[in-house]
Symmetry: C2
Subunit: 567 residues, 2 copies
């Protein structure tokens, strides 16, 4: 039994923030990185509800409870460079001797035998103190704040541009709705991608918030002014975002009418109202926001509200279908809007695709996904230097340059300074080795931690989202994320995690996380070469196995050994 | 893309058997071991249906289809000592560079996102060629034939003896029924454990088969003779097994009556009729076997058959409850008999425990489980030498000695010579190091492969079997087997696997396998020390975390570092 008698016996909430600077609290930087990152996840500047240990995404937590959190810290402080700490649903359960080339932490969060994989059973275990919901990067200690959603949305728009407009969104405009927690990233992401955007939002307060944080550039008084502004800026190829207060279920059909009458046509159409929750998330046509909010709170009105919201969603989708029929790229943004419309009588609601099959999967086929890194020094200068290095490493990647410039200018750091960008097989290990070199030479003040979301190319099975509509029908096969975690462990990642239920809830997904610390050593070079190559390569493998030509080509290009692909 | 153009292009069934001797077909013995073991699993002497690649347990397979099987062999022949082969549901999907200290093969079989984890969805994927059922040791290439079930049953009886009779079953007798595929191991296992047994079986052909293979010693003409034989042999402390042709639902109640009237009382009561399937598995009272078999084939009679079988199960369980009430150790052997009886009106059917909570869990608490090894030389002499070495290593373990002697005498090898015995934390690494030394010195002709069933202390979550009725209610938490697989990978096992659905079917279990090759090298010493210690240690950890005193003590004794146990 390890002696934790010296451990601080704090068992309740306290303000947490990661140590900065170069002093070590643990045996080496591989361990120190985990020590800092779990604390960074709970920094009030990062976490949504730090007192409850909630990082993001509903109840996605970094540790099961406060005593478990303190015991994780203490275990890391005592951990030796040839030992591995096991974390079970946010609780440190064992320390074992492994070897220097193995991960220092192995994590399994929220995993349940399938027959019992429901919120009911999870909640029961949670109440008993036996479980925790790890979401994706919450329980695997690599969440970096809202930069992630901006970047993911940016990549989606960029890929749309690549597919439909020769990679150039200048002079194009995106029509969307919803400026909430996630949807609020759309105007900024569209601007970063080089497009104008018209963002319909029914609550003025949401528009105000996005104007204040500079995620949104301007608000139009009415539709005519909005279209005039769009016309003005697109003709000048300026990427400007326009907010419009109103109901998407009314305005989008009106836009269809005008387009049919020869008026302006959007270049990309999508939506991020909260249609997945038609009691609280979608304002019905003709209702005022006050009336809507009152009905939300009054269960007696729920049936009426549901009916009205559902019918409005149907109108909204009919309009999106009309744009789709005009040949305008139209996608669902994972908010279940098509399903609601279908339930309310729109038989061809699913005629336009979801954003993952349409725009994310082609990226996944090349192992491209949300690569992120954090400066353990705490110094923003370290991130600025890595930004510059990234531009040198990938001189031809204009979208990347654009992103890095815009992000450097407009994204404020939360907690330890961090950067995210989507890069793929062949680029991730290159970046990792470059960062490790910068740590080695002292160009950076302290080591860099590299990680990614579980929403990535080879690391997730989630049939309602990341693996929706796979070409071969293998949406629900979760062998792939398990192999991803096992291979990253075998490759010597710094920490590896296996989760269940992230993104879409209990029973609906299984996924894996990985983190690699660039501590400047030669040993880290070796590990980086393996981990940051193998990890995206499993994504290319998974998609090549499913028959995607893009992935098969990418595998060939990079000389992957896939024994049965093409056989 | 790897070049498999030289691969034999066999795509259909062929007789398979593992190479013997010391010539290598692969780069080293770590890889050669996997190469031999997958073939050994499909040896006609081992596999139940080798042409269909089925090893055991319904449709538990070693490879997805014949082309996948051939591609696995070819991939292993080409694999380098710093590479790792990934196998996804029986198909080789990728070869990646890792390092010499990492596993050579990583396997994920039959894993499905929980919401889709049903036989229906699995079958659909199976038909499309996207999946395979791996059972436990079938898809992880470490099945060794029926020796496993004899040994598992033996350990169950021995543990019962330990708990109820001071570790001595001499002069005791077991009452049971069912001499089918699994149940037929009972008489031999009881004899090995030192007890007499009375085995009721309704089909004479089954009794004949067990007499022929010497799993059963004698058949009694009737109950009177059976009891006379029991009386005769128990009084002489001879371990003799007696078969009795008849219906357990009639004979067990009759035995209760006699016991209540002062007649003989069994010392242990259990049952292995196939009550889990009341159409095909349980003969109703008053029915002839011929009538029963005809009714099985005639759907029109199923309702009647079900009713009659269910009522008979109820009678049977009432009798077992009566023995239980007399203080006689009575356990369910995982055949669902209690549930059927409950459904047919026996409200207290669950008053006596299942065999896992009663007898297996105390073993699991000390990391004791089904340790097995195989002689890659193919020479039975190698196993005889390891048997002798085991007895030297564990001079005080009388049950182990008894097992090894009996097994050496009465168990015939299937495929490569192999041995199984249940040992725990602290003993497994000791045995592994001893075997490795014997390989190094040349005492053994070729390396030894050590593995285990997935049914083990730290490697399975299966709420209807291995993790039924955990003390803290954590039956369905599958973080544990995932951590087990990750840790074994980090510890440098030779191959590691993660499966779903073994033993109890789709949706009902998640479990991990591990194999370690003793190739005589110093590097293997290091790996053995880690893997064969850490693997059972995760079992002790899991049970200590659930609050079992035995496990907490065992963890203390062995100095395990469990940060929050006892806190
Ligand atoms: N699949 C993915 O990866 C993914 C990514 C981002 C968002 N989403 C989905 O997008 C949706 C939005 O997410 P969020 O976090 O921003 O939700 P949110 O509830 O914070 O925001 C929704 C916004 O829509 C507005 N709205 C509602 N009805 C409207 C109407 N009829 N017209 C105009 N505006 C209206 C609301 O006022 C609110 O501001 C959710 O359904 C979410 O699940 C999915
Ligand atoms: N949980 C475990 O680990 C575990 C281990 C071993 C066996 N089991 C269970 O034990 C049961 C037996 O397994 P098996 O493979 O031997 O099955 P099986 O079908 O091969 O054998 C069952 C035998 O019971 C006999 N039988 C049926 N009704 C009878 C009656 N009324 N009286 C006397 N004999 C009767 C049949 O003739 C048959 O020989 C199954 O339900 C199996 O699931 C469970």
């Amino acid at each position: 039994m390890s002696d934790l008698s010296q451990a601080p016996r704090l068992a309740g909430p306290r303000p947490v923030s990661a140590p900065r600077g170069t002093d070590l609290h643990c045996a080496d930087w591989q361990i120190e990185a985990a020590y800092r990152m779990i604390q960074n996840n709970l920094d009030p500047a990062v976490a949504e509800n730090p007192d409850a240990l909630v990082v993001y995404g509903g109840i996605g937590k970094a540790a099961r409870n406060w005593p478990a959190f303190e015991a994780i810290l203490e275990s890391l402080r005592q951990l030796q460079p040839d030992e591995t700490l096991l974390v079970q649903s946010g609780k440190p359960v064992g320390v074992f001797r492994t070897h220097a080339g193995a991960p220092r932490v192995l994590i399994a969060n929220s995993n349940l035998v399938p027959r019992w994989a429901t919120w009911e059973h999870f909640n029961e275990l949670d109440r008993k103190g036996l479980m925790m919901f790890g979401q994706m990067t919450a329980g695997s200690w690599i969440y970096i704040g809202t930069q992630g959603i901006v970047q993911g949305t940016y990549e989606t728009f960029v890929e749309a541009g690549r597919q439909h407009f020769g990679g150039d969104l200048a002079g194009r405009w995106v029509l969307t709705a919803g400026l909430g927690g996630m949807g609020g990233a759309q105007p900024l992401a569209a601007s970063f991608a080089g497009a104008c955007s018209l963002n319909i939002e029914c609550q003025q307060s949401r528009i105000d918030f996005r104007l204040r944080t500079r995620y949104l550039d301007k608000q139009a008084r009415d539709l005519d002014e909005a279209l005039a502004l769009i016309q003005h800026h697109t003709s000048r190829k300026e990427a400007v975002s326009i907010g419009l207060c109103g109901n998407a279920a009314e305005i989008v059909p009106e836009l269809v009418k005008r387009a049919k009458a020869g008026g302006p046509r959007p270049d990309i159409v999508t939506d991020q109202t909260s249609a997945h929750d038609i009691i609280n998330g979608y304002l019905p046509i003709g209702w005022s926001v006050e009336q809507w909010q009152a009905a939300q709170k009054d269960p007696a009105q729920h049936a009426t509200l549901k009916q009205a919201a559902g019918e409005s969603c149907a109108q909204h989708v009919r309009a999106m279908l009309a744009f789709h029929a005009m040949g305008i790229p139209t996608v669902d943004y994972g908010n279940n809007l098509r399903q609601v419309a279908f339930d309310f009588g729109v038989q061809d609601a699913f005629a336009y695709p979801g954003f993952v099959p349409a725009y994310i999967r082609p990226l996944f086929c090349r192992g491209v996904g949300p690569f992120r890194w954090v400066a353990l020094s705490g110094d923003p200068e370290d991130i600025r230097k890595t930004d510059a290095r990234m531009k040198e490493l990938f001189p031809e990647n204009k979208h990347l340059h654009r992103w890095l410039d815009m992000a450097g200018e407009r994204i404020s750091f939360q907690g330890l300074p961090a950067r995210i960008c989507w890069i793929g097989l062949g680029d991730r290990d290159k970046a990792g080795l470059a960062f490790n070199e910068m740590v080695r030479t002292g160009e950076l003040k302290a080591p860099i931690v590299i990680g990614r979301d579980h929403l990535d190319s080879g690391s997730v099975a989630s049939p309602n989202r990341e693996t929706e509509a796979m070409q071969d029908g293998s949406d629900a096969v979760s062998d792939w994320p398990l192999l991803n975690a096992l291979l990253n462990t075998a490759s010597g990642a710094s920490w590896v995690s296996l989760h269940h239920g992230g993104g879409v809830g209990m029973g609906y997904s299984q996924h894996a996380g990985v983190v690699m610390v660039c501590d400047g050593t030669k040993e880290a070079d070796e590990k980086i070469r393996r981990v940051l190559w193998n990890d995206p390569a499993t994504g290319v493998m998974r998609h090549a196995d499913a028959g995607y030509d893009l992935a098969v080509e990418c595998a060939k290009e990079h000389g992957l050994k896939l024994p049965m692909v093409g056989k």
